[in-house]
């Protein structure tokens, strides 16, 4: 099974489709671990279970459904995680709405940009203390207990996904500790994911009827996200860097 998993994320999207066709058939052969495998991804993990490498959380964003001027995702993120919601140069933004326009064709797209939860995250590579870390299930986090605030990860991130907390904070969300002098970024709302909920941004996007964001387990071939990734052409931002991002975009 683990071999299959490895293949799932190493294989390019096109190959992945073929693989999964075969994989679905082969699954029967390897079913003893398979039961556990699907069990975990379908049910979310139990509170006492550690994050499992059999799961890789990911996100698929359909840019064609992302509405111009809508920032429900960013607002929901700020509410859930206790961010100020302000957008000054020294304020934290874990998710932001980007507007892009093709310089040749004039084609315009809207999309949310957030931590891409790379499989090979440069922020984790460069962090001197190991505060920047990737959980077994692919969620990239900052352990604020050992973050010294050097900001090297912010230099290294290709997506400008990280923010530095520039001033003392009070009244944090008890579930989302964050404070002065540390670097932070999107956590995929790990506190929600761990109790089997989707990230706040995804929920808000669906609630507003846009349905532009999809969250799920990339390693579960039967999850909606894996199926969508099998069916549509999707892109990684800065795919040239080979980071194998957990967030994929459709329509650009």
């Amino acid at each position: 099974m683990s071999e299959q998993n490895k293949q799932v994320h190493e294989t390019a999207n096109n190959d992945r489709r073929d693989f999964l066709k075969v994989g679905a058939g082969v699954a029967g052969l390897a079913l003893a671990p398979g039961v556990l495998f699907y069990g975990i991804s379908a049910e979310g993990k139990a509170p006492d279970a550690p994050a499992s490498a059999k799961v890789r959380w990911g996100m698929l964003i359909d840019t064609s459904k992302c509405a111009d001027g809508c920032d429900s995702c960013a607002t929901a993120c700020a509410t859930e995680n206790g961010l100020s919601g302000q957008t000054g140069p020294q304020d934290s933004q874990w998710i932001r709405k980007m507007h892009i326009k093709n310089l040749q064709t004039g084609a315009e797209h809207n999309l949310p940009m957030l931590c891409q939860h790379c499989e090979n995250p440069p922020c984790v590579d460069v962090c001197p203390t190991g505060a920047s870390m990737k959980r077994a299930d692919g969620i990239v986090l900052v352990d604020r207990h050992i973050c010294i605030g050097c900001r090297y990860c912010m230099m290294a991130c290709p997506y400008k996904a990280r923010s530095f907390v520039h001033e003392p904070l009070t009244d944090q969300n008890p579930e989302v500790p964050r404070g002065q002098g540390c670097v932070e970024s999107c956590t995929f709302c790990v506190q929600r994911v761990d109790r089997d909920e989707t990230p706040a941004c995804v929920e808000a996007c669906s609630k507003d009827g846009h349905m532009a964001m999809m969250f799920g387990d990339l390693r579960d071939p039967n999850s909606d996200i894996a199926r969508a990734l099998q069916s549509y052409a999707t892109t990684e931002v800065r795919a040239d860097l080979g980071l194998n991002t957990g967030v994929r975009y459709q329509g650009i």
Partner: protein
């Protein structure tokens, strides 16, 4: 001669250090009988902590640290020794001022806490009903365990 003098100097220094170490070691016992000021655990709700006082007093830093790494790095959220759980009994909010027993006791012991730089001094909001009632999003995954087998 200078060698001897130097040796004597070191011996005296060692004796001094030894004596002061003894003094320090003796202090708690000596003070035990004295009526010394003690921090009051004012905010604590309920009858008792999750372990006996002696144990908690001695081990809470290690317990918290262990739990913190389990939760932070491995996503294990069921542990008993989380700061959030402490806050359920040991914090209070009067007139918008959050107070904790942690602060009282640490002020007494003169041990600086920097937990509050990031952590809230209040218990987590009660969730409607955890896990069971939370609708797994239709997007998250659609297959039930074992579903694949058919």
């Amino acid at each position: 001669m200078t060698g001897m003098a130097r040796l004597g100097h070191w011996l005296r220094l060692a004796a001094l250090l030894g004596a002061s170490a003894l003094l320090v070691a003796q202090t708690p016992n000596a003070a035990a009988g004295v009526n010394k000021p003690e921090p009051t655990i004012a905010q604590a709700k309920g009858d008792h902590c999750i372990r006996d006082d002696e144990f908690m007093m001695r081990h809470h830093p290690d317990l918290l640290k262990h739990q913190r790494d389990d939760t932070m790095h491995r996503g294990i959220r069921s542990g008993e020794f989380s700061l959030k759980r402490c806050m359920e009994c040991h914090s209070s909010n009067s007139n918008g001022v959050a107070k904790t027993d942690c602060d009282t006791c640490h002020a007494f012991a003169a041990v600086k806490l920097d937990c509050w730089d990031c952590h809230a001094k209040k218990p987590a909001k009660a969730k409607a009903v955890p896990a069971a009632a939370s609708q797994p999003s239709p997007m998250m995954t659609s297959v039930q365990p074992g579903g694949q087998m058919q």
